[in-house]
């Protein structure tokens, strides 16, 4: 120990930092959350109690008063999905940054958009979902179909080839791919694929 002063200073500093850290973490331990957070919890409890209309009112109040409160929008979107208010859910979806949604909600949004023939949105949602769950093959098949509707055969084919690589023995999938090739006028390749399904 050549220079004790440094060691003493360092150890005192370390003790001080530790005490400050503890103090900082405990400082707001019993702090009341914001009025928005309370209203959000209230709305959630109303949902759990199946008082859907009241919950919807509370969510709307929250969104109207605090437009940047994304969680309220996400919750309301999920509520709309649950009670099958598809139109409202899709309208709300335009205001929510999709990346903030959890995977299941993104998938549901994609299915909903696809159901309502909003293929561009559906494609975007599926892409986001598949970035998080690349091995969800059913979602990938849906995306391939959506690419077909959007008139993007290259992307659709890429998805089909990925799927066939993962599920080479799936006859139905290969048949779909065969029909896709027919639509693309790739008859020889289509025959080759369809023969395999017989």
């Amino acid at each position: 120990m050549k220079n004790p002063k440094i060691w003493i200073t360092l150890s005192l500093l370390f003790t001080l930092i530790q005490a400050e850290e503890n103090n900082f973490r405990c400082k707001n331990r019993f702090a009341l959350p914001s009025i928005w957070e309370i209203r959000l919890q209230y709305a959630r409890t109303l949902t759990f109690a199946l008082k859907i209309d009241e919950a919807e009112v509370q969510y709307k109040k929250l969104i109207a008063n605090k437009k940047d409160f994304i969680q309220a929008q996400i919750d309301l979107f999920n509520l709309y999905l649950e009670i099958k208010k598809d139109k409202e859910a899709l309208a709300l979806l335009k205001t929510i940054p999709i990346t903030k949604l959890d995977s299941l909600s993104v998938k549901l949004a994609a299915e909903l958009a696809s159901e309502k023939h909003q293929f561009a949105e559906a494609g975007e949602f599926y892409e986001i979902y598949l970035r998080r769950h690349p091995l969800d093959l059913n979602a990938r098949l849906n995306l391939a179909t959506i690419y077909c509707f959007l008139g993007d055969p290259d992307k659709a084919e890429k998805e089909y080839l990925f799927l066939l690589k993962k599920r080479p023995n799936d006859i139905q999938l290969r048949r779909n791919y065969g029909f896709f090739l027919i639509k693309q006028r790739k008859y020889q390749q289509a025959v080759k694929e369809l023969k395999q399904t017989l």
């Binding site: 309370i38 919890q41 409890t45 759990f48």
Partner: protein, 161 residues
Amino acid sequence: MVRVCFLVFFYLFVALFTTLSYRIIKPGWITYTKASSLLENKMYDEALACYIEAIDQGIDSLYLSKYLTKTLDHCFDFNHPTKLLEILISRHSRNSKSFKFLGNFFAEHHDYKSAAKTYNYLLTLFPEDRYARFELAQVLSRQGKYEEAIEEYKLLLDEKL
């Protein structure tokens, strides 16, 4: 040699100084430290008594909850953690922070019934404590008592019951 003696005395001085300061500023820290050393020596009942005293003295540490759980795991005399609440009530404590700590402790350990009991007691002492009401509402909701939770939320949001 002189340097070593200086260092030893310096450390002793720092230790004495901080202990004295803590005793003056926050006497609960002494109780908390005592409880921790009792826990280390596996004197669980005594440690528990000290931890309760420390909580009552308003001690809030990140490790208190952890140590309290560890102590409770070894205290066979305490069949149920609500005894902690009973002890605190019997001390006629009016320290809201102690009850909040205990309420949170129960909630963190999924003992929502005891947590609700704690917050309810706290609200009888301090009916205007909004933090306790919010936590009570959350705990009631987690127990599936939605109607009661909704009433608490309405009170918090000043909505008509």
